[in-house]
Each structure stands twice: as structure tokens, then as C-alpha cells.
Symmetry: C2
Subunit: 475 residues, 2 copies
Amino acid sequence: MAKEISPSVRCIKPLQYTALAVRAKQITQELAQGVQKPYSELIQLIWGDPQNAGIQPLTFVRQVLAACLYPQLLNNDGLPADVRQRAQGLLEECKGGSLGSYTDLPGIPQVARQISEFITRRDEGVPSDPRNILISPGSQWALQNILSLLVHGGERAGRSGVLTPVPGHCTSIMSLVSVGGVSVPYQLSEEQGWQLRLEELNRALDAAKQVCRPVALYIINPGNPSGHVQSRESIQDVIRFASENRLFLLADEVYQDTIYTESKRFLSYKRVLAEMGPPFSDTVELASFHSASKGLLGECGFRAGYVELVNIDPAVKKHIYTIFSKDNAPTPGQIALSVMASPPVTGEASYDFYREETQQLHSLIKENVRRVHEVLNSLPGVCSQPVEGGAFAFPRLYLPPKAIDKAKELGLEPDTFYCLRLLETAGVFVSPGCEYEQKDGTYHIRFCIMAKRDTVEDLLTRLATFQTQFMNKFS
Amino acid sequence: MAKEISPSVRCIKPLQYTALAVRAKQITQELAQGVQKPYSELIQLIWGDPQNAGIQPLTFVRQVLAACLYPQLLNNDGLPADVRQRAQGLLEECKGGSLGSYTDLPGIPQVARQISEFITRRDEGVPSDPRNILISPGSQWALQNILSLLVHGGERAGRSGVLTPVPGHCTSIMSLVSVGGVSVPYQLSEEQGWQLRLEELNRALDAAKQVCRPVALYIINPGNPSGHVQSRESIQDVIRFASENRLFLLADEVYQDTIYTESKRFLSYKRVLAEMGPPFSDTVELASFHSASKGLLGECGFRAGYVELVNIDPAVKKHIYTIFSKDNAPTPGQIALSVMASPPVTGEASYDFYREETQQLHSLIKENVRRVHEVLNSLPGVCSQPVEGGAFAFPRLYLPPKAIDKAKELGLEPDTFYCLRLLETAGVFVSPGCEYEQKDGTYHIRFCIMAKRDTVEDLLTRLATFQTQFMNKFS
Ligand SMILES: Cc1ncc(COP(=O)(O)O)c(C=O)c1O
Ligand SMILES: Cc1ncc(COP(=O)(O)O)c(C=O)c1O
């Protein structure tokens, strides 16, 4: 009986990561047991998880949280006055004055208001209403639950399809497939710095119509793993395309705070939509996602994000509320979102230090990005597009035919083979491009650029040596 | 387009709670504006949310959490030595030494080990393997994701069914329906103190076979809202029934720590299954759920629970791992689970105080339960079965025909009508039995018994007055 598991669950592609992780764990154990290797420690930059990569959390976030969780600290002079005041204010809006209580939708009321004010500032005045914001246990949870509403299972060609970027965030595809939806891939143009091209959206949509009924378009901006940041014109193209084809827009904007190029800035789908005016601004349905896991906050462990709903029919909104009311966002994560949306301001005790920490972090990552770009593009058989934003480098590998043959012989994807070798011989744990989908015949690796400077330098040195050896061996 | 939402989402019954909550919010605002009412404050005991009802969190949990989140406190003499030591140990097992990092399955390794040791102690030696434990963002999340694996959507009679208790936990039904499953109700016997009877399981299963393909049996023990605690014999009956009918057992055991009668103790499905021996002990598939939200811990806001898997085929387990790897349990909640599974022991600095707090809390709830039972059963038209465990009283209301007519006139369920009146005239916010399903023609209310003593006394006084007036008015 147990083997008759749901087809939608069976269709979820297990992560390539798993095989690599098993080996990484063994290597860590071997190193601990004193087994001799060409390296004394693994470098793990698999996920967009800055704290795992040695980045310190922002002090203010943790101080506020500690005071909220253990209110005896509210009387502790060791914590700055604004920390205690902030914690006090947040606790007053929690039921029973405690983070231990469930929160009603949209979340702690003050946090929803702060998020809505944050959005209004970000979008230079485009209004945001806290009633359109739903705080959730991570942005991925919110995305999956909106997908479960948009997607009909059922017969082959009647199944709902969602256009998804290639390369893209693999967990989003898992979420889509697990609710019974069909992923309709559209390719980003690597040679144009991973731009999203309108012709490709049209091609993907036409192709999709043979196998499913496309209902939504999923975009990641800034891109994961692409690192591309969309221009206003590109966003406008997408909005017009969604409007013409009556597609629901799912804008995954979790990397909005991390942009590294002077020539680009983050423009939200909501803002561009509003600024396009009617008929777009009052008809195109949009859900925009953000998270406490990403950006300079980087609190992945807390599991909190939110979605803002734009132009959603009240009848549909009611169903969204019902489905979101099945669960609550963890309160500690909601506190992190509160700080993200409403950081200390001039005059507050924590302002200077918060600014210093965030600026240092931003400069650190910018320097990482510069070095990564420089080194990767100096290596034989490697080509990296500019990392304009987000948390990852995603360089292309031009693998020699002999390496590809060897991988196939072993039953591995060529870039998984590459990653296993890199792990084994250089102690560098990164993930293969096939995890994120990629154009046939192209190969990539992905690694997180939010890490300590010396970790990144060490990774680049090991990678450079490995790449040269690898190319020699297989050419 | 947007109105064509997924049928499984459309089938989710919105909570009765919503209408009541809207009015409760208005009343709170009216009271704040100085509007005169027969009460100066609302009593809200809708959810099993002790901290919302004025119960203080356990100090040790919050101290460990504060130290984990703000490690500067590790050097603070204000915190007991064992708190700091515990926090240090937990942080060492977090990636990057921080609660801000993602955790791999099954969760923070030390926490999974502690849970597995806790289960072994609880089950008096029946072994537990940490590899069968998956920590999740709440037990409800774990249940929904296991359901998504067991349930096939599709054509009418081919759809998967799950036997679910009446009355039962409404969110579980929402989860089941949202993944496309059919809920197959089985009635608990109110007159026998809400016992689960084998004949009724057989009846329900036969009836179900007309409309779906039953694949699993969901039990809540101790019951929500029933308050019943199953005996060993009853559990054995259920296990035999599941075995004969090849049903997957879903044992929701989140109330295992809260039992108020001397004559009963908690026996886990896993333990009874193991003690039954073969063929049951090595064939019946079981998932058992527990949570940091419930019991004496009561940390609902943190969103952490776990599932233990028993007798699951390795091939199926792999899919469960894949589906669980879509998300992580929030780390703060994992810390709470750690304390639940491994509280301070004799000799540790925090032991005495932890014991004092938990014993006081347990006595408080026991006294609440005694008083609730005494008062409810003294009221005209009210009959409450013994509350043996869990977090709720669920008394039956014998509503006069005139009240039922009046409710129907207003388009309301009779007990929703009752709850609205109770809210309006007595300022008591509890939930109607129809929220949890109930036998046709019977009516109930549910309220949480984990609350401060004077809150419960106040509720009982208001309810007594209201009930007498209500019966007079409608008889
Ligand atoms: C594009 C994208 N969206 C969503 C997420 C997940 O965010 P959360 O932690 O809020 O669920 C990630 C995490 O890596 C991501 O890269
Ligand atoms: C029977 C039952 N199961 C599960 C839950 C939810 O637990 P969690 O908070 O761990 O999701 C509840 C909460 O009320 C419950 O009553």
C-alpha cells in the first residue's frame, strides 16, 4: 500500500544536493578522525545561508529578539534603550503579551503595518495596505500556498501550468510539482547577462499550450541563481505579456536588498505596475514575495516571509485567507521582519552601529562579487556573467568531452560529476547547475557569495587549482 | 481567470471562527472607546493557546532561547550556569554556530537525538532512532505533508480517503482537503466519554468505500476537542483495524503531556504497537506527531513539531525526506523542543525552579478541569463529559427548539448563534461545536482550560448567568 504514493509527490525531483551532502558529511568525519587530505576543512557554500558561511547576524535583530523572548531583559541596562522600547512595543501587540501565542493573520499587527510602510517607502509612494500583506512561515510557504490555489490537478492537458525561469530556484519547482502543477520552463539568456527575453516567454507559452493550461508566470528578480537584475523596460514587457495572456504574476523578490552594481537598482513589480497606469495597474494580478532569510538580514533559520497581494479579487482573497489561516508565521521570524522593515533611525541609540554593520556587510559582499568575477573569468573553461544582485555566482563551465563521457559512464550529470570531484579533491562543496535546470548541453556551478572574505578567497584559490588540473586531466 | 481557483482549495470550509472574531474585535474596540457593556473585558478562550490566556512561559525555555539568539548572554552571570551550558551545546550543533542558519533534516542533530531519547523513556524502552524523526515547522505542517504523500486526487471514487474523528481538529480536515483528500468521518461516542468504538470504525469504512479509496486513519489522542484519553485496549483495537484494512495510521499525540485523571496515563501508539509484537509490530505503518505548541510548554508562536515514522518502507521514506526538505523547522522552536524532550535534571541549577513551574501549571489546569466539570454539569441544558486530557472542555448544549429556530432564521448554525449571543451579552469568546464537526442534532461549545484560575472562574460565572437567561428566553 505504502508504495502507492501520490503521483505529484513522486514527480518531485530529489535534489542532486543529497548525494553530494552524504559525501560531504563523510569527508567532515574523515577530517575529524585525522584522515590526511589536501585540505584541512571543507568550504560549504551550497545555500544562500550567510550565517552558515560565517557572517554574523545583525546585532540589533538579535537584541530585540532576546528581549522579546525573555522579557526580564527589558529592565537590563546592558541592552540599548531603543532595543528595549522596540521589544516592549512589539510584545504589546502580541496576544497575551507573549511571543508564545499564535498570531492571527496577517501576523503581529505592528509588523504588518511596518512592512506596508517599508513597501511604500521602497516604491517611492505607491501605496501599500497592511490588509494586503500576509506574513507566513517563510516566503516559500507563501508561494506554495498561492500555487495550491492557482493550480488544478486532473487530466493531462487540463492541468495548470506555471512559467518558470531556467535557471531558477529548485525549491519553487518542488512546490509547484507537489501541488500538482506543471512547470513550463522559459530560458534566461546567459549571453545577455541572463536577461529575460519576451520572444522566449512567447515561445514557452506556445509550447506549453500543448501540454497544460498556463495560469501563472513566476519570476525571480534579482535572479537566483542568475544574479541578473531586471530593468524597468524588462519588467514592463513581462507585465504586458501577463496581461495579454491573463497570467497571474508571481514575483519572487526576496533578493531585493542585495544589489551590487551601481548601474542598477531594484524596482518592484508592484511599483512598475502602478506606474504603468490603467489598464495594467488595476487588472494584472500580482503576488510579491519577500523574506527575512535573504538580504542583509539573512535569518534563514527563523522561517518568516510575507506576500503582498495586488489586484486580487475579494472572493479569491477570501480563499487565500482561509488557506493561510491553516498556519502562522513563527513569531521570532516576525520580529526579524519587523527590524528589516523598520530599522533603527537617526537619533536612536542603535542607529550608528546598525548602519555600520549593514554597510560593512554590503561592502564585504561587493568586494566578494568583484573578486569572484575577476577570478572566475580568468580561469580556463569558465565564464561568469556579472553578478548584479542576489546571493550567488553561477559561472558556466565548458567541460571537455572526455569529462562529459566520464560522467555519463558513472551515471552522473556532468556538472554533478564536476562538483563531486571538486568536493573530493579540493574540499569545496558547491552545487551543480543541473539542480536549477539549465539549457541543454550547458553546465554550471552555483555558490553563495555572502561569506567571509577569506572563505571566498580560499574557495577561489582551491577552485582555480582544481579547474586547471581538471581541464588538463580531461583534455 | 482568478475565480477559477483550485477545487481542493475551494472545498476548504472557512472557519466559523471568522465571523465571531470580527465581532470580538469590534467589541474590543467598543470597550476601548468606553462603550458601556455588562462586562469590562472580553474573555477569549478560543484556541489551545495558554500564553494568550495569561499562562507564563517556562522560564528555562526562554532563558536558553535568549542565550542562543544573543550569544553575548553566554557570559552573563544573570543566567544560570546550566542555561548557558545548554545554549552553548545547542549552538555548537547549529551550522555556522548560529540559529540564523538553515538546518538540514531531521533538524538540529542534538535536538533529534534528545527527542529520540525522550520517546524511548516515554515508551519505557521501546527503541527510537533519530533517523526516523523529522522536525518540522509545527506538527500540522508535518501532518499535511504526510497527507500530501498518501493522498491521490483525481476521479471521484478513486480519490483517497482518510478516516477522521468527529468531533476533531478542524485544521487537520483543512489540511486533508487542501491536498485533495476526502474526509471520512467516524463518530466518537459522547455518552461513553467520547470513546472510539470499533463498530463505528467499521461502519465508517464501509460507508467510505462508496465514495473514495480509504488509505489512512487519523486519531487524536488525547482528544481535541473531546478530552478523551484512549486505553490500551482501545489502541489495540485501532491497530488491528488498521492492519486488517491496510490503513496508514496517523497518530496525533500532541496532547500527550497533559492528562488530568489519576486513572489514565498516556500510552503512545508506537509503544502499544511494539508491545503487540508481530505481525503488527513490524507491518503497521505509523506516523506519530508531537509539538512544542502543546502540553506544558505551550509555545504555539514558535511553530515547531516533529513526526516519528514507524515501519515505513525505505522507498517511501525517501519521498518523505524529499517533501520535508522543501522547508525547515524554525530554529527557535527547535530549541523549545529540545527543552521539552530534555528538561533540566536533578543537580542542574535550573532543576528545582523548572519542576516548581511545571508542577504548579499542572495543578492549576487540574483544578481548572475540576471546576469546569463541576460548574458545567450544574447548569440547566449543559452536559460535559470528563476532561481526561488535552486542552479543552467540549460540553454539550441541549438547545431549546425556539433557539434552534431562531438560529435557522438568521442562517446560522445553532451553536454559532449561541456563541455569538454569549460573546455579545457576556463577553465570552468561545467556539461552536460545528467548527469541529459533531453528530447531527447535537450542539456544543469548546473552550481552552489552560488559562489563569481567575479567568476560568470568571468565564464560568458569566457562562452560568448567560445560560440561565438563554434557556429562559427561548423556552
Ligand atoms: C528565489 C528564492 N525564493 C525563496 C527562497 C526561500 O525563502 P524563505 O526562506 O523565505 O522560504 C529562496 C531561498 O533560497 C530563494 O532563493
Ligand atoms: C490535535 C492537534 N494537532 C495539531 C495541532 C497543531 O499543532 P502545531 O502547532 O504543532 O502545528 C493542534 C493545535 O491545536 C491540535 O489540536
